[in-house]
């Protein structure tokens, strides 16, 4: 099966044009601090840097990614940094709605099997109201009706609504995360590389 058609779900790919004159070594040296984080291991060859993260810290700027490779390709037009990153968090968030839809189905199925025994339903009594509450104007409790006990029992049963709500929340979070994290990592790489160029230019200027 060719995963290429679906792997965009948890793979983030992108490219950045390097400034003229910026070498592979320069670029990777500037990006190096990003890979010197707790739980991150990385390897560098001439034009490629590959990394792997395990139990990465929450505030690691690349914590959403578990691994990937950055490669610098040279052409007539100049050098380009191409990156390919993988994220289990994105995949998890993509699949989470399915899990919660499953939980909703399970809740509905369980409720069908668990019919309340009306004869065993609790008999509600009239709850007296304290004079202080009366004086302060708190609403008097409702008088319990005969059919209330069964309806009350039914309303206490676990509802599938929260599971549907969370399925929706995770679907929305996936869309936000897929776009946001793609942009954030690109901005992070760009910021680190640009700082390199600025320093380089400052060093060259008299």
């Amino acid at each position: 099966m060719n995963l290429r058609f679906i792997d965009w779900i948890w793979h983030v790919r992108g490219s950045l044009t390097l400034s003229p004159g910026q070498s592979s070594d320069d670029a990777f040296n500037r990006l190096d601090p990003l890979f010197r984080q707790t739980g991150t291991s990385h390897q560098r060859t001439n034009d490629t840097l590959s990394f792997c993260k395990k139990n990465q810290a929450a505030q690691d700027r690349m914590s959403v990614f578990n691994g990937g490779a950055l490669r610098i390709e040279k052409s007539m037009a100049g050098s380009v940094l191409k990156y390919h990153l993988t994220s289990r968090a994105l995949l998890f968030c993509f699949l989470a709605p399915l899990l919660f839809l499953g939980i909703a189905r399970f809740t509905i199925a369980t409720n069908k099997f668990d019919r309340p025994a009306h004869e065993a339903a609790k008999k509600s009594a009239v709850i007296p109201m304290n004079p202080i509450d009366k004086a302060l104007g708190a609403p008097a409790p409702d008088t319990p009706k005969k059919d209330d006990a069964g309806a009350e029992e039914e309303s206490k049963k676990p509802s599938p609504t929260p599971a549907f709500v969370f399925a929706g929340i995770f679907a929305a979070l996936y869309v936000v995360g897929r776009i946001l994290e793609d942009r954030l990592v690109k901005a992070l790489f760009r910021k680190n590389l640009l700082e390199a160029v600025e320093i380089h230019q400052r060093q060259l200027s008299p």
């Binding site: 139990n55 049963k157 929260p162 995770f170």
Partner: protein, 326 residues
Amino acid sequence: MDGIRVGRRVIGAQSPVTVGWENIPKVQGGPVKQFIFTWFQPTMLFALLAFWYYAPNSLAKASIALWVGFGFNALLLGLEWVNPRYASWRLTWKELVTDLFYVGLAYTLLRMASYYIGSDAMAKAIEHYFQQDKFTWFTGLPLLVQALLIFFIFDFGQYWMHRGMHSWYPLWLPHSVHHYITQLNINKGAVGNPVELFLIGLGIGGFFDFLPRAALLAGVLKLTTGTYQHINVRFNSPRWWRFLFTTTEHHSLHHSQDYEATRSNYAGSLIFIDRIFGTCVDGEAELLGMEGGRRMSIREQMTYPFTEGWKALKERFGRSSALPAQ
């Protein structure tokens, strides 16, 4: 690291902590900001209490309480952006997704577990023996007194369950993973192994269903005082507030990387229970977690209590695979 002597204990010998209210930073900014972050907590407490006290019966329902809870948490998430306590606790997309996964479990599977085998089921099992007329002394009390008593009994039970989790290994195992969180955010209270969350939720909740308004008022007391345990917001909580209620400062110390500090501040809402039993330490910590702040994945959170429990059982009862040399 020398640590700080608090009573007979030395706190902060393994990881930095701040002890004493006078050493805790204050909210920075103009008078309006200072005012808001000083009076926000008491205002929300009294405003929501008044709402549930006077709400008509058509509104005083558990389903509305659920939405009020959602709204309150959303407001606090906003405050985390406006006035964070620590930059190192900032909420990221990944942290939000992780936290919400546990919140989702709490609202779905854990709620089902509670209904079929937890508090609700326990209450149902004994309701036939329950004679409501024997409790007229309680149901005749003013609503706020009923609510305060329910709130106190629930928190008192949670205090001992929590303290038990820190003192007895079989209970520590499911609770331990909650201590791998490395920062406090509004939904971090839900992060943990479902077994632990089920155990800590065991209480008397289901027994007070026959008092809907008192139960709602008790719920709002819990919401507007206990929620601040896990939050990345700097408040100037009034002196009386931090004497009575568990603050982020108290709970951050409980989550510190320092072992002695974790053995303090067990109460979920009412810190004065800790004061009564001598386990309260007023202070705060920024570096949180276990094993030097290792962040635990969701998969490990789910399996760790069982794998570690199995290892402990094998060590205790398992036969040695290697025979001693003759």
